[in-house]
């Protein structure tokens, strides 16, 4: 308002020596009901700099972000010594005056534009909405401004896209449009709440570049993220939050590469990558290295030949989602399939499980026919192949307890229990194997935490004593520390049981951490395959190269 934003923008990236804080928060406390979720945190944001607030679910980071625009939510109680925007007190604002600030002085970007943009309105209208709300320009001028904004965030054919609706755009373009809307009024502060989560890695890189560009024009950015590697790419300063408190706060290089607090260290360690291969991700565990059983390269447990899958849409147009995919999975091995959304990896997994009939090609299980069998002939040998899904909760019947789920799986296994007592014993053993205890037997999955649910899912997959486990994005929905635990569990189980994994993930770090060999998929085809280290270190296909360039990573100390 008083400081013209153009001046800051002209200054470029001048703000390495911070002047006065643009947004200053002191001793912020937020409570819902009687429960305090933000417990007295303080931070400042400076023009042209990015503050990253990092934490896992429940750390209070998103609540903090929303409090900064006065949208903490119903039933909340906010107290702070100081919330100031350029000297203007925000802590005691009325809803009406908050509205004048939102969008104009503080822009806000949420994660996943598919749900954060109104799908029923045209992209142009969504982008121009802050202008309309704050009575800027005429209808026509707003429309052209929206097109300019879309162009500025790198949306091709902006005038065409402006007339489309968000769902008609690709994920990356949508997210750009969301950012375009947030910066429409050139706010001095931009708050981005998980702006790249749910995006494919290449798109993620583009979005981060876009935010960096905004920062370089003098915008103060507050980025909320659970992903430390993403933060490394943009932030100047990092605050690590845990259970409503900031446990560590400092310049990005300090926090990420010379962490002081145990929690920060644990978080950093938990990130899987090429460097973590063969090690455990959870800090402080006794056996850091793996003791693997040898891979039997003469015994392909799964061998897929020229798989393809064509779906006919309601408009009678065929779509090929899997196109001539072949692979072999050897006993004791982990084969990783990596690719972005829509690459056909989940369909491939479904075919391998014989749950989706392939249009062409077949999969053999341990040298004999598998997908080409009739369902009735296949059922008796199903026990040899198990599956772990991305979303464990939806894979459990909400009416069943953990105990019943596992007993059901045991009954379908190689050695069905002969008595109730035996069943119970074996279920308890299974639970212990995945790091749970008998006390969870009577729990409904709904009452378990995300990590516990995935452990139950793994226990269920293991109950029939399969030789192959298909893991379809098993850790994608988990916080990084929980992800680390689950990945450690999977490697431990492989060491212990010698089971083979067909491991599917969009996360290159996870894939590299887990896999012996990998397939890179794009648009239903395998573009590159081979030994994991070889592919990662020396990618041949341009797509793989692009993926790896886009991958945000932490330089390991």
């Amino acid at each position: 308002m008083t400081v013209p934003t153009a001046a800051a923008s002209a200054a470029g990236r001048v703000a390495t020596e911070p002047q006065a804080a643009l947004l200053s928060v002191g001793n912020l406390r937020v409570a819902f009901g009687g429960r305090e979720v933000v417990k007295g945190i303080s931070f400042d944001a400076y023009p042209g700099r990015c503050l990253a607030i990092v934490g896992e679910s429940g750390s209070g980071k998103s609540v903090t972000a929303r409090t900064l625009v006065g949208l903490t939510g119903a039933g909340s109680h906010v107290a702070a010594d100081r919330i100031e925007l350029d000297g203007l007190d925000l802590a005691t604002r009325s809803e009406r005056s908050w509205r004048a600030i939102r969008g104009r002085d503080i822009g806000f970007v949420l994660q996943d534009a598919l749900v954060s943009l109104d799908q029923l309105r045209r992209v142009g209208d969504e982008v121009a909405e802050p202008l309309r709300v704050h009575h800027r320009g005429t209808r026509a001028s707003r429309r052209s401004r929206a097109i300019e904004l879309l162009e500025a965030v790198g949306v091709p054919e902006p005038s065409v896209k402006a007339r489309q609706r968000p769902y008609e755009l690709s994920g990356g373009l949508r997210q750009r449009a969301l950012i375009a809307s947030a910066i429409a009024l050139d706010p001095r502060v931009l708050i981005a709440d998980e702006p790249t989560t749910a995006l494919d890695v290449t798109v993620q890189a583009q979005v981060l570049d876009l935010l960096a560009e905004s920062k370089s024009r003098g915008t103060a950015i507050i980025m909320i993220s659970h992903d430390l590697s993403v933060v490394a790419r943009l932030a100047d300063e990092v605050a690590v939050m845990r259970e409503g408190e900031i446990v560590e706060h400092g310049p990005v290089d300090e926090v990420l590469y010379r962490p002081v607090h145990e929690y920060t260290k644990a978080l950093l360690d938990a990130i899987p990558s090429e460097h973590t291969r063969g090690t455990r991700l959870v800090r402080g565990t006794s056996a850091p290295r793996r003791t693997r059983r040898p891979i039997d390269a003469d015994r392909p447990l799964l061998s897929a030949r020229h798989l393809s899958k064509v779906y006919r849409g309601p408009d009678r147009v065929d779509r090929t989602v899997v196109d001539d995919v072949s692979f072999e999975l050897f006993a004791g091995e982990t084969l990783g399939i990596v690719g972005e959304s829509g690459s056909g990896k989940t369909t491939t997994a479904g075919i391998a499980l014989a749950l989706i009939p392939p249009t062409a090609g077949e999969v053999d299980l341990d040298g004999s026919a598998w997908t080409s069998l009739t369902p009735g002939r296949r059922r008796p040998i199903r026990k040899r192949i198990g599956v772990v899904y991305q979303d464990p909760l939806s894979s459990f019947d909400p009416r069943w307890t953990v105990g019943r789920i596992l007993v059901d799986a045991l009954a379908k296994g190689k050695r069905p229990p002969s008595s109730r007592a035996e069943a119970r014993d074996r279920v308890v053993r299974l639970l212990e194997q995945v790091g749970l205890t008998a006390q969870h037997l009577e729990d409904a999955p709904l009452r378990l935490s995300g990590g516990q649910r995935q452990r139950v899912a793994i226990a269920r997959a293991l109950a029939p004593e399969p030789e192959v486990l298909v893991c379809d994005e098993p850790v994608s929905a988990l916080d990084v520390s929980i992800q680390a635990q689950v990945l450690d569990l999977l490697t431990d189980l492989q060491d212990e049981l010698g089971v083979s994994y067909l491991f599917i993930s969009h996360d290159l770090g996870v894939i590299h951490h887990m896999s012996d060999r990998i397939l890179v998929m794009k648009d239903g085809r395998v573009v590159e395959s081979g030994d994991a280290d070889a592919v990662f270190r020396n990618p041949q296909h341009p797509y793989t190269q692009r993926l790896l360039t886009a991958l945000p990573r932490l330089a390991r100390a």
Partner: protein, 328 residues
């Protein structure tokens, strides 16, 4: 799934597909209608007692049995002495010529009987539907996710109105607003002022139903991230509700509206009765009572036709409100 999955062939132009779809829909609709009329035709023959007896009794206001000799001329006049199947075939072939037959009791073509009465019924039901929508949406917008007392008031109102027996509310409205307060006429007939109370009789309970589903959806929508996005742009609560949430919230109510139209046509007979309004409902009741087979079947055909058209409109309304549904 958008990026990688490319359509292999787009050889058929989209308008051809649309036209083919529309033709298919019309053909199905025609089959549905003829089936409904045919079922009605035969169902009426299941009614105990003989049609000629009913016609004679109805002409004289009596209830007795007649001798074969007495019945013979009636049977001959209406063709009841011919085999059932040929009566039916005549009826169905007539349908395709747009001939719904002639009323046994009024001696008029059924098309004319329906033509006379369908107008007021359609006005009544359409007005009731619109009013119900206005009430439902208005009350939802005003009360959903407000202070607890306000929200509770809104949802109680909806549950209450949805529980009102249509006849009862009609009589209460009549006594209060027409007899006591004299704001509206007692004999509404087809005048605009006279249409108000019958419309309210039908609209108030329906508004309760529509309001309930709209409220549920509205509550869910208001929790969506895009609503938060809109708020972070500085939008007022009212604007957020109107510009963003509303459109998302009405889809279930649109679905319900297609169904509601059928229920309204049934409920209309009650409103017609209480307020002395002409309409198809009253004709239907009389026709069933007098075994006037062609009239009953004809009304079913027309009502089913209205229903089918209404549902095509509902389908269209879906895609207008939510273009995403066009794909599927």
């Amino acid at each position: 799934m958008t990026t990688a999955v490319l359509p292999r062939a787009l050889s058929v132009p989209s308008w051809v597909r649309t036209a083919r779809g529309a033709l298919l829909k019309i053909a199905t609709a025609a089959i549905v209608l003829v089936a409904a009329a045919s079922i009605t035709f035969f169902a009426q023959l299941l009614v105990p007692g003989d049609r000629a007896t009913a016609i004679l009794n109805q002409q004289t206001g009596r209830a007795q049995q007649y001798t074969t000799a007495e019945l013979a001329p009636v049977n001959a006049q209406f063709g009841f002495d011919r085999p059932l199947i040929s009566q039916y075939l005549d009826y169905v072939t007539g349908l395709f010529r747009g001939d719904l037959g002639t009323s046994y009791t009024q001696h008029r073509p059924v098309t004319e009987i329906i033509g006379d009465q369908i107008g007021p019924s359609l006005v009544l039901t359409a007005a009731a539907l619109v009013t119900a929508w206005v009430l439902a949406v208005g009350i939802t917008l005003l009360t959903v996710k407000r202070r607890r007392a306000v929200s509770a008031l809104g949802s109680t109102w909806e549950a209450l109105t949805a529980s009102l027996p249509p006849y009862w509310i009609g009589v209460v409205l009549l006594v209060v607003f027409a007899v006591q307060l004299r704001i509206f006429p007692v004999i509404g007939e087809t005048s605009a002022r006279g249409t108000v109370l019958p419309v309210l009789t039908l609209a108030i309970p329906l508004a309760g139903f529509l309001g309930q589903v709209t409220r549920d959806e509205f509550e869910k929508v208001l929790d969506q991230p895009f609503i938060t996005t809109a708020r972070t742009r500085g939008m007022s609560d009212t604007a957020v509700r109107l510009r963003h949430a509303l459109r998302h919230s009405v889809v279930p109510a649109i679905t319900l509206s297609g169904w509601a139209l059928g229920a309204l046509l049934s409920g209309a007979v009650i409103a017609e009765n209480v307020f002395g309004r002409p309409g198809i409902g009253q004709v239907l009741v009389t026709a069933v009572n007098t075994r006037d087979v062609p009239t009953v079947s004809g009304i079913v055909l027309v009502v089913a036709g209205v229903y089918v058209i209404a549902n095509l409109v509902v389908d269209l309304a879906y895609t207008v409100v939510d273009p995403r549904l066009r794909a599927s």
